[in-house]
């Protein structure tokens, strides 16, 4: 059914790596910014300000969410370019299916995001020591699951954006408010009730809750609700995307 998936994934990865700015922007730049910030703030902030310790404690979650948002935006941009250039239309005339094309791009994004996050984790240990008890493995699994689910939001946006020029602004317009209301930067309890209601309905909220919980050593069992919501978001977005997907 997914004939050509591996070849297409491998090919799209190589094509992506040929774009010098793309590699720098998606993989290296976040790591460098992270290192620069870590060097600047690292030990000092933690030593003097007790609140900053929370930021440091949540740092992996913040980073994972930002990388996920970056991956969604990049997915949206690539699909828009492919649609605008008639590449999707040409692929349509082959036995390739839309699901295969989207899956290949998602796999590429997953691979790149994982690489970025792994590099950050390795490089960032010096500045933000995680402690021996940090649940790296569980957190890694949670990140992969979360990124895969939220990328499906990218499917929907990617399925309908007409041109590459609108792809990034539209994606940012949808994603940044979601990120702001996800509870990552501002606790949900301090929001006005109406906004709280909205925030709890947005898909980034369970994502943040899951990542934060797993990172702080809570069990999977206490986050089945978050995972169920993310899975539902995934199913809904995939269903919606396959209905509204436009080849041209």
């Amino acid at each position: 059914m997914l004939r050509g998936l591996w070849r297409l994934t491998w090919l799209e990865l190589r094509i992506f790596l040929r774009e010098p700015l793309g590699v720098f922007g998606t993989v290296l730049a976040p790591v460098l910014v992270f290192l620069a910030l870590g060097r600047l703030l690292g030990g000092r902030v933690r030593a003097t300000d007790p609140d900053a310790a929370d930021v440091a404690r949540d740092l992996p979650v913040v980073v994972a969410m930002l990388v996920a948002v970056g991956a969604i935006l990049s997915l949206v941009a690539i699909m828009a370019i492919y649609r605008e250039g008639g590449i999707l239309k040409r692929l349509r005339a082959t036995p390739l299916r839309p699901a295969t094309i989207l899956t290949a791009h998602v796999l590429v994004k997953m691979l790149l995001s994982t690489t970025t996050l792994t590099l950050m984790a390795v490089a960032g240990r010096r500045f933000v020591p995680a402690g021996a008890e940090a649940p790296w493995l569980s957190f890694g699994v949670a990140v992969v699951f979360t990124v895969a689910c939220v990328l499906s939001i990218g499917f929907v946006i990617a399925s309908v954006v007409p041109t590459a020029r609108f792809a990034q602004p539209l994606g940012a317009l949808v994603l940044y408010p979601m990120l702001g209301l996800s509870g990552l930067f501002v606790p949900l309890d301090v929001l006005p009730p109406g906004l709280q209601f909205v925030a709890r309905a947005l898909p980034f909220t369970p994502a943040v809750s899951l990542l934060r919980g797993i990172w702080h050593g809570e069990g999977w069992a206490s986050h089945t609700g978050d995972m169920a919501v993310l899975a539902l978001v995934f199913a809904l977005c995939v269903a919606l995307a396959s209905r509204v997907f436009r080849w041209e």
Binding site: E12, G86, K89, R90, P95
Partner: protein, 312 residues
């Protein structure tokens, strides 16, 4: 002198009463035709006539509003998966990934089909071997077009669809592509193409269908269409002989002779006009300074049947 019209003996494409609209724009308005196995069939018509829409319905890329289509006995909408294995398409204005190389594209396409041809041989046939490691964005227009044709041939298709395959190419590149298309036919395949270059249609196609505003205007071999729609030819003879004008006027089939000094413009039935004029010149032993013929072409048929050269 009667040329046998080519009747499609074994149609590989059958289109009946095809209609397709986009919102309120009727793009194709009841078109019917057949394409016979082994022929090069051309769809010609002005911009926006509905060529691409017709072709994409036949390829299974668009669903018709009404009418029936059969390609190799298959329904392009219902049996699109089976059909894709047996047809090759080159779309108008298609692009590939900017940084994909020629070889990677051919290999990807080969991986998608059940019975692909040898990619290396295909690149040789299309003269792309030395560019096989070049990225798509660095190819010239002609090379891009050859690659897109190569991709249409990867699955060794029985029918090849080529939409505006030489638009924007220089005359050399165009001729090279024409040879390629003849080569495809020589290997026993059927070619269905669209063009708005009348010279291309006349030189390349066994039969052409003229469409305008979504309707079929006429269909036949180029020579047959010329005979049907433009029966008048013109021969211009420059001679000082005083008896010439009268002699020309007496030629059977001549409808008018206009004399302007030594220049005589003779119009008459296209069939035998040139022969008759030469016979007349020889019979009357008329000295001639110059002879020019202006025979109708498909371009004239096009202008005659669609009213103007271009429309948008």
């Amino acid at each position: 002198m009667d040329v046998q019209p080519i009747v499609p003996a074994e149609p590989v494409v059958v289109v009946r009463h095809l209609r397709k609209s986009y919102g309120r724009t009727v793009a194709v308005d009841g078109v019917s035709f057949d394409v016979a196995r082994g022929e090069i069939f051309g769809l010609i018509g002005p911009n926006g006539a509905g060529k691409t829409t017709t072709m994409e319905c036949v390829e299974g890329l668009r669903a018709p509003d009404s009418g029936t289509i059969a390609v190799l006995g298959l329904d392009p909408v219902r049996d699109v998966r089976a059909l894709q294995e047996r047809i090759g398409v080159q779309l108008q204005e298609a692009q590939l990934q900017k940084r994909i190389t020629v070889r990677e594209a051919v290999d990807l396409w080969a991986a998608l089909y059940r019975a692909p041809v040898d990619g290396g041989r295909l690149l040789d046939q299309l003269g792309l071997r030395e560019r096989q490691h070049a990225r798509f964005m660095t190819l010239s227009g002609g090379q891009k077009q050859r690659l897109l044709i190569a991709l249409a041939l990867v699955n060794d298709p029985e029918v090849v669809f080529l939409d505006e395959l030489t638009t924007g190419l220089d005359p050399q590149a165009r001729r090279a592509i024409w040879d390629l298309v003849r080569g495809i036919r020589a290997r026993g395949k059927t070619v269905f193409l669209t063009t708005h270059l009348m010279e291309e249609a006349e030189r390349l196609c066994d039969r052409v269908a003229i469409i305008d505003r979504g309707r079929l205007v006429d269909l036949g071999a180029p020579a047959e269409l010329v005979r049907r729609h433009c029966p008048t030819a013109t021969v211009v003879v420059v001679t000082a002989a005083p008896e010439a004008a009268a002699a020309f006027a007496a030629i059977p089939g001549v409808t008018s002779v206009v004399q302007d000094g030594t220049t005589h413009t003779i119009r008459g039935a296209a069939g035998g006009l040139v022969t008759e004029v030469i016979r007349c010149l020889a019979g009357h032993r008329i000295d001639v300074r110059d002879v020019r013929t202006d025979l109708p072409t498909l371009e004239d048929v096009f202008l005659e049947t669609t009213g103007r050269a271009m429309r948008d």
